[in-house]
Amino acid sequence: MSGVSQASSHPARAAEDGGRAQGLAVKDVAKRFGRFPALKGVSISAEPGEFLALLGPSGSGKTTLLRIIAGLETPDAGTVFLQSEDFLAQTPRERRVGMVFQSYALFRHMTVAKNIAFGLEVLPRAQRPRKAEIKARVKQLLALIQLEDLGGRYPRQLSGGQQQRVALARALAIEPRVLLLDEPFGALDAKVRKELRYWLRRIHDETGVTTIFVTHDQEEAMDLADRVAVLKEGRIEQVGAPEALHEHPASAFVFDFLGESNRLPCHLSGDLAAFDGFSAPAVVAPGASGNTTAWFRPHETELSGEGPGLGVTVTGVHNQGGLVRVDLSAADGSTFEVDLPRVSRPTGLGVGAQLKLRPRRVFVFADAPVP
């Protein structure tokens, strides 16, 4: 398909443009719904060809941001530019932004092929490709989503995963300059989710279209995206590559949102967190000092029968494939979770066992509330 090949040369073209191509730039965008502030001044940019994930809990404003970029909502303040074009001054048609919804939103009375062709058939007559051309493009897109033989089916005759692939093909048919996906896999079961995740990344790499992906699933975001923006209550908490977010989370919120976490009061001196009778190396965020909270991951925690550490009692043991998840509680009632590889599971691990808990590495933040 000409559109796909054209788009795939896009990153190369961007490189030729040198520093001039800036992709999509959102600046200081704010939006209220009645008295509820959905976005409180968000700035973020996506490089041409980049795969950007917007990650956050529900109500964090990520979908609102996506809908503003698509032209479905108008922000109260701020700007949205694509290259040098003022997006906010353009209609959704002029923006040429492809969007994929959690509900698929396929046209139920149209066949798969008609769905895919829709964006081309509603083009003004002067820009509309000829019938044969549209047909050829639909065929190429059907091949791209590996549903060559299902062009004549109706959406209701397809599985959820197939429907979402059709929705993606429909969005790609207009050769979007930016592709927006709003929780696209939210309605699918875990196995299909994972398959489609890798498939989507492949499609992105093939077409090279700048992609913004909204999700509340941190695993999905970290797995898929070149960069992840973590949103909280209408603000961007941190933007970075998945690796960077994992290794240097900017706030306790980011750390907590990116995975399960344990908390323990500590005294910070330098990059060492001191606890009662033991200590652990700390990754220290700017501004953190003194008596604070140490955050650590279940899989970066050790359990042993003796030696230094926090005295804890086992309250539950769950087998999770190659891992053993151990629930623990301390004398003061605080609870912890520890993931142990099944092979290194200590002997005598059972409910009621008295053990010592020791984090191997902790994170310390300026904003961390003392538990």
């Binding site: 046209f107 139920r108 829709f118 509603v122």
Partner: protein, 280 residues
């Protein structure tokens, strides 16, 4: 569901089904059959001769003229109201929904009487209209107004639940694909509700042609002028002209049967689409 069906009392179940069937037969089927039996009591020739009467023809014509205007108007209104209610959020939505339902809960006689109160000789605007030489009560216009009021909710009521269930997802998707307002309405919104609209129009039409109470109040019963089919049936019946009365009545009954047949056909042919609409 299966567990809810009692397995044991087979005999009792048949008794209940039989009682229901008997009741249906007595209350619905028997009167319907009797219309046609009475209409043909004196043979087909007498039946068809009933339609040669100029007053009968005038009644049929008037009924068609009323339905021809009232139904499209209420279809348009129903479409607009359902679209507003299903696709937009606005203040007063609940009030609008209640107002649409009002004619359902109102006695048809009241629906006719209100027009007399407004436009009648002693009504609010009666003297003014009299001076202008405009007559509404006891004319086609009055019958039309009464019919419109009575059949007001049919199309809207048929469309609102379907459109609410379908939501605005598809329209939103169409916007992102570059569709303009006209494309969205013609290619997305209308095709999704086409069969419900057809059904609503059928129901609306059946009621528009069959309405008695409201029309009776405003018509004045002038034979050959302001008698619609239902009014003409009553007039003939009161004249002891039973064959003619039932002949005209058989037309209305036939209309009901056709409406029912088309409804069944639509449900059978498009059940999967309606079901997929309900699922979302």
């Amino acid at each position: 569901m299966r567990t809810m069906v009692p397995e044991k009392p087979k005999g009792f179940a048949w008794l209940v089904v039989g009682a229901a069937a008997l009741w249906m037969g007595l209350a619905i089927l028997l009167p319907l059959v009797s219309v046609f039996v009475e209409a043909f009591r004196q043979g087909a020739a007498a039946y068809f001769a009933s339609f040669q009467d100029p007053d009968a023809q005038a009644a049929i014509k008037l009924t068609l003229q009323v339905a021809l205007v009232a139904v499209p108007l209420n279809a348009l209104f129903g479409l607009a109201a359902a679209w507003l209610i299903a696709k937009f959020e606005f203040a007063g939505k609940g009030l609008l929904l209640t107002l649409i339902d009002l004619p359902f809960s109102l006695s048809p006689v009241i629906s006719g009487l209100v027009w007399v109160l407004v436009f009648g000789a002693n009504g609010w605007f009666g003297p003014l209209l009299d001076q202008l030489g405009v007559r509404i009560i006891f004319t086609y216009t009055g019958i039309l107004l009464a019919t419109i009021l009575v059949t007001f909710p049919f199309v809207a009521r048929e469309l609102i639940p379907l459109m609410q269930a379908q939501g605005t997802d598809e329209e939103t998707a169409a916007v992102t694909l570059g569709a303009g307002g006209r494309d969205i309405v013609w290619r997305v919104t209308l095709p999704n509700i086409a069969w419900a609209l057809v059904y609503g129009v059928l129901l609306c039409n059946a009621r528009a042609m069959g309405e008695f109470g409201a029309v009776s109040v405003v018509s004045g019963h002038i034979r050959g002028l302001t008698d619609t089919m239902p009014l003409h049936v009553e007039a003939l019946y009161n004249d002891y002209n039973f064959v003619a009365a039932f002949a005209v009545a058989s037309l209305l009954a036939g209309l009901a049967l056709v409406t029912l047949a088309v409804k069944t056909l639509l449900e059978w042919r498009f059940s999967s689409e309606l079901a997929s609409g309900a699922r979302r």
